[in-house]
């Protein structure tokens, strides 16, 4: 009975959007990074589904429209790029340098830490593209012997984690430039990080959106190259 209810789109849409609005309200009231709506909404939804004994497949069916909107929202980031094009032109060299090195640091560090902690090579291959937007990450993972479902989970967790800790980490390390903050958010935590960067301001949001694409391309190139070196 309750499973059927969740397969009905208007019901699940209202449930998810209502949860998001409540989470947004809480976040704006408290201004705590840890209570970012992307994090609290997910926790509340998982909690509710487990409590009511709803199968994820039913919820997935009902929430399809919201999930679908991820694609158009990435496309819409093109508008932010257009608005900030003068900044991108002026900083093109530094943006490309930072992304290339950032991509290498991301792959090498995750490989070494995971290996050192005893993860097998399938897990390591699944982790390599963790800072990249899901569709690109899954492609890279599948091509180099990873488990795409594991990659999908890690990418989402990485994104949400980065979105939540990002502002704190950057304050502590003295990263104050708007371009640098946007670039750091998007390159480390893709879409979820960009959602967070948009809240910081138009410059941060646009640059973060740009870095999702750049990081995806850089990582797709770097994973096979680095495999030749650190294998």
């Amino acid at each position: 009975m309750i499973n059927t209810l969740f397969t009905i789109q208007p019901f699940t849409l209202a449930f998810v959007i209502g949860t998001y609005l409540a989470a947004l309200w809480l976040y704006r009231r408290t201004k705590l990074n840890l209570l970012h709506p992307v994090f609290t909404s997910i926790l509340v939804v998982i909690g509710a589904l487990l409590l009511l004994d709803v199968e994820y497949a039913a919820f997935e069916q009902g929430s399809f429209l919201i999930d679908f909107m991820l694609g158009p929202s990435v496309v819409a980031l093109g508008f932010g790029l257009y608005e900030q094009v003068h900044l991108i032109r002026k900083n093109l060299l530094s943006i490309l340098t930072a992304i290339t090195i950032g991509s290498i640091v991301g792959i090498v560090s995750v490989v070494f830490i995971a290996r050192w902690m005893g993860a097998d090579e399938t897990v390591v291959a699944s982790l390599e593209p963790k800072s990249v937007t899901t569709p690109i990450a899954i492609g890279i993972s599948a091509r180099f012997g990873g488990l795409p479902p594991l990659t999908a989970v890690v990418v989402v967790v990485t994104g949400v984690f980065g979105a939540v800790v990002g502002p704190f980490v950057m304050d502590k390390t003295g990263i104050t430039s708007k371009i640098a903050r946007g670039l750091a958010m998007g390159s480390s935590s893709h879409g979820a990080g960009t959602a967070r960067a948009i809240e910081m301001g138009a410059v941060q949001g646009a640059i973060s959106g740009l870095s999702i694409g750049l990081m995806g391309v850089a990582t797709a190139i770097m994973v096979p190259l680095l495999r030749l070196i650190i294998k």
Binding site: I46, I66, A76, Y82, N91, G118, G159, G213
Partner: protein, 112 residues
């Protein structure tokens, strides 16, 4: 309505191009680049796209909720490697953030 049409149109074109080239880069990212080019060249009406684009991107966090809730069924992929996966991902994410942020900030200041 024009704005919604434009965004879906560019998403569709992006997916099409992505499929033609072996889906290495996702359609949404290609669509983003194409929309950017179309706005720069004035092929599409900037003012009419603005409200829709701003509205969707402002609430991007909402669109991550269903994927995120998927964690409840995929948690078993972590198996025995949970600690390694979580530690490696978290540390590496912070390292990427700091590296990218500091390099950009350093080069930006040198530029001025």
């Amino acid at each position: 309505m024009y704005g919604i049409f434009i965004i879906f149109l560019f998403y569709a074109i992006g997916i099409l191009i992505s499929k033609l080239f072996g889906e290495i880069i996702p359609g949404s990212v290609i669509g983003m680049v194409l929309l950017f080019v179309a706005l720069m060249t004035r092929i599409v009406n900037t003012e009419k796209v603005k409200p829709v684009a701003c509205f969707i991107t402002r609430h991007m966090a909402l669109f991550f909720v269903p994927v995120g809730a998927g964690l409840m069924v995929t948690a078993h992929y972590f198996k025995g490697a949970t600690l390694a996966i979580v530690t490696a991902s978290a540390v590496s994410t912070v390292l990427v953030m700091i590296t990218v942020g500091l390099i950009q900030q350093f080069m930006e200041k040198k530029n001025d």
